[in-house]
Symmetry: C2
Subunit: 141 residues, 2 copies
DNA sequence: CTTGACCTTCCTATGATGGGATACCCATAT
DNA sequence: ATATGGGTATCCCATCATAGGAAGGTCAAG
């Protein structure tokens, strides 16, 4: 049983020590054993769990999602349908957010395209922000 | 000179009263005149400014960006190049964020595609979160 | 005169993360 | 023995944009 300190756990899993303590405080992981100094130390299984969390975060899952994924992960008898449902719902959210950002980007790009970008003051970008009525075209090229 | 209350200003500009007060507190807009009751009241020009801010926020600009845009907007002698630079930097940020979300979405979609999604427990999604080595494919279709 | 609908200020929360202060524990170098 | 330096503990505060609520003042209509 390899026991490691929080700094080592951080280096191994890529989760900052700050965040490891935070996960514990919000009950995402359970409190690890302590040495006599009250220093936290982590077992292989706990490191594995932290890695799972980091990879979930890398995929943009929220803590609430991760809480559910972790419980499904621990449950050997889970149905893959439950996991897939969480993943697909998240995919939908990701796609929506990406689409929203792209719409903003497209609008700004088309405004910037008609802006001289020189010393003269006239600027379609400011005009679009100025005038409510002159609806910003969502440019469908 | 039409003077309106904060609730009317909110209805007209689409900025919540909460946020209007907040913009004032962080110095994004200057403090409006008050009636004898200490009620804020807004002029046409101030409503216009609030509308400008809302449209900027709709395009995803941060308060810091908006602060700069507002000052350029007020400055009749600004160069359009300055405005364009802010807009294009923002476009770059938007595109980066969108790309990151799309990468997550693509990964999850490809994992979900190979997940049965039935009563059986085996699930490639959980396996990918489980295994650090089995690098999650970024699927280049 | 009360009711209800405004307005005011101040405090708190969100979600995920970072930063810092203060104090304790421990090993190594002097 | 002790000073130095580095890891750890807890606690508080900050971010960004927004929302909720409490507690109290103001006003018009019933």
């Amino acid at each position: 049983m390899n026991l490691v300190t929080i700094a080592q756990a951080s280096a191994i899993t890529g989760v900052s020590a700050k965040m490891i303590r935070h996960y514990e405080s919000i009950g995402l992981i359970k409190a690890p054993l302590r040495t006599e100094n009250r220093y936290r130390h982590y077992s292989e299984a706990e490191l594995h769990e932290l890695g799972f969390i980091r990879r979930s975060r890398d995929l943009g899952f929220s803590f609430e999602d991760i809480r559910q994924l972790l419980s499904l992960w621990r449950d050997k008898a889970r149905s893959s349908a439950e996991v897939k449902a969480i993943a697909l719902r998240h995919v939908q959210e990701l796609d929506q957010k990406a689409a929203a950002l792209e719409a903003m980007s497209r609008t700004l790009k088309s405004l910037a395209a008609t802006c001289h970008g020189d010393d003269r003051p006239d600027c379609p970008i400011l005009e679009a922000l100025d005038l409510p009525d002159k609806e910003v075209s969502q440019s469908d090229p």
